[in-house]
Symmetry: C2
Subunit: 406 residues, 2 copies
């Protein structure tokens, strides 16, 4: 594994209101702990961002996100642009006020959504024309517009517009997308010189280590306040995903936050931290919660299983979340069985509390120099979902998203 280095001290960011400070590196590996300071507060890293694509973490109110122990969320420019519209949110005083979230917000630029959800894309170096997955209307997005829209939302961190190729693309296609993403990142940087949200660049490169390395080096040379690794967790194997992280991280600056986009599950987060990642976002904990899959220290449990119908204890007796402190597993089983709305709320509260608790344990392990043993113990106990099942579930969800469903 090649991703370690010396963590420099706090670096002042003259062009960005967002700063990153490394506080500890795991003495026994590449994991690191730090702080991401934003205009809406500071969060400890490694940090997990729950997904609030449409300006809401599905089923939860802002106070529930805070109560779960999470301080920063991800929203999505593509979704908010289509509905309710950037102008509406700007008129309402910005995204923080609109969704009543006073902590930091990071927005994805919409690159991934344009390439995974929207229809009929016409792509050129200038930008991309696509059809809304909601009503089929035609829209145009350029790097400059992606910056303008995210600035209008008033978020803390914005992402450069990227082209995210499918995981089964040819090398030639991936190379083209990677190079276009670099050119777009540079245009975003030029467009963003207004002291607004911090602009993070995205490293693409598919499953090609050399393309990842080249992209990371090029973006590093441009100088961004943060760097993301995109285009992973899209259907490739977990092994490939981890290899690509290892192929990228060493070529990113030590003193800037590293964000692994769209990842992940508890086991992926643990592996990502081990490879030097600071920021994660993923819809998985909230999405699987709504299907009845609840995280426990021994793995995901499906509360719909008959075994839970008469279980008097909580799903996870050691969990401090409202659901586990208040209800039996049998009650949650009943709620899912009866398709009651409270089921989705309680399961989401539980899974996000699990993620927040996991991130806290991760940070403490890094700080105490024991991350390698923490990771080993966690993975020994946590039984991940079978790769095939996992990819099947994700594809089903993507199809539903494309068809405009929830």
């Amino acid at each position: 594994m090649l991703c370690c280095g010396e963590g420099p001290a706090w670096r002042s960011e003259t062009t960005s209101a967002v700063g990153f400070r490394l506080l500890a590196s795991s003495g026994d590996g590449c994991a690191r702990a730090g702080e991401l300071a934003t205009p809406h507060g500071t969060v400890a890293t490694p940090v997990f961002l729950p997904v609030a694509s449409q300006g809401t973490v599905k089923a939860l109110a802002p106070r529930d996100i805070k109560a779960a122990g999470l301080g920063m969320v991800l929203a999505n420019m593509y979704h908010l642009y289509l509905r309710p519209g950037i102008q509406v949110i700007r008129d309402m005083g910005g995204l923080h006020r609109f969704m009543a979230w006073d902590g930091p917000i990071l927005t994805d630029s919409g690159g991934y959504q344009v390439f995974s959800l929207a229809g009929l894309r016409r792509l050129s170096d200038e930008g991309v024309t696509f059809r809304s997955h909601i009503d089929g209307s035609t829209h145009h997005l350029t790097p400059e517009l992606a910056v303008e829209y995210q600035e209008s939302l008033g978020v803390d961190v914005m992402m450069a517009l990227d082209e995210c190729p499918p995981h089964d693309s040819t090398r030639e296609q991936v190379e083209e997308a990677t190079d276009r993403t670099l050119r777009w990142a540079e245009r975003c940087l030029t467009a963003s010189q207004g002291g607004g949200p911090a602009l993070f660049a995205i490293v693409q490169g598919g499953a090609h280590a050399d393309l990842r390395k080249r992209a990371a080096q090029s973006l590093h040379s441009l100088g961004f306040p943060g760097y993301a690794i995109g285009g992973l967790s899209l259907g490739e194997s977990k092994g490939t995903m981890l290899e690509m992280i290892e192929a990228t991280v060493p070529f990113l600056p030590e003193d800037r936050p590293r964000y692994l986009m769209g990842v992940g599950s508890p086991e992926d987060v643990v592996e990502g931290v081990a490879r030097g990642i600071d920021i994660f976002d993923c819809a998985l904990p909230t999405r699987v919660a709504r299907n009845g899959a609840l995280f426990t220290p021994s793995g995901r449990k499906n509360i719909r299983n008959a075994a839970y119908a008469v279980m008097k204890t909580p799903v996870d007796p050691d969990c401090a979340c409202y659901a586990c402190r208040t209800f039996s597993a049998a009650y949650l089983h009943h709620l899912f069985n009866a398709r009651e709305l409270l089921a989705y709320y309680l399961a989401t509260v539980h899974n996000l509390t699990f993620m927040a608790s996991l991130m806290g344990r991760i940070r403490r392990a890094v700080a105490s120099g024991t991350y390698v043993s923490f990771r080993g113990e966690f993975l020994d106990r946590y039984r991940p979902t079978d790769d095939e099942v996992r990819i099947g579930q994700k594809e089903k969800w993507l199809r539903k998203q494309r068809s405009g469903g929830k």
Copy 2:
């Protein structure tokens, strides 16, 4: 209007753990205020019970119900019997513990549901055989079983099994159902001599004032700790509903609580109180909330309307609920538009807070002897939903229920 009388002092109930005390009668009408004391606490009347048919007020956690200002809920024996089953709830320590609600619970016996939701009924004096609306399985219910099941749930108030005829039945059919309901009430009374939940009887009689009177007198002579008026708000006009309340209340004892089942909307509650009703339950406030209809002092507003898309103020600026204190109308509009789960939560919180606040204002108006003027002012301002729209909406909902949907 014929429903007034002298309110006697607190009456000790030797056969029931539930007591009712009249505290005030409106000097200017039949409205009255009191207290219903139960093993799980005392609630001030007139009281509105939100509907938790399946052991959950749809979309809310117990703490949200309390925060809305509501202290007592209605659950449904028919629904809980079918799913998760009476035995499961008994094994879990009773319904209070199962659903984590520590306030009073009233359960309906299932009579209404058997006659409105279940299929293929075979009815005799002995009892009723019906098919589950969930899986088509066959079940049998008798007055004695209705008591046994509700006692097993450990609730505070249980309802006698009744036969609830459709509102378009012939007089002969209604008379038969009314008489059978009387015979069943007597059997429930005999079966319930165990010191468990207080047994409330149900007055049927359709739209026939003489049948209502006879039923009320007969049940009164048997001596129950409380009396309900059933079989209303099923599709008849509002005028008929109010006439039937007026035809019943004078023949019920003054010193026992009067419960108008399945009613109602804000305007129906105000009219019911004016006619001497103490307890209401209705799914309407929570059901219409999930369709985006929000109560305001001037009537129901549909948050889906385009006018709300850019409204910066809350739906009701004077409302103290979490939704109105936290979010703009535009945000709620967006959540409904995007079919986000948070929409159903916030709208339900709002409508139940409105109902709780309304009940508080009603009680204060009764106590101060100004209920007639309160009622006039409220109804002058509150624009009710058109009767035709209302009945159409309810029928659509019932059809969905019958087909096993949410």
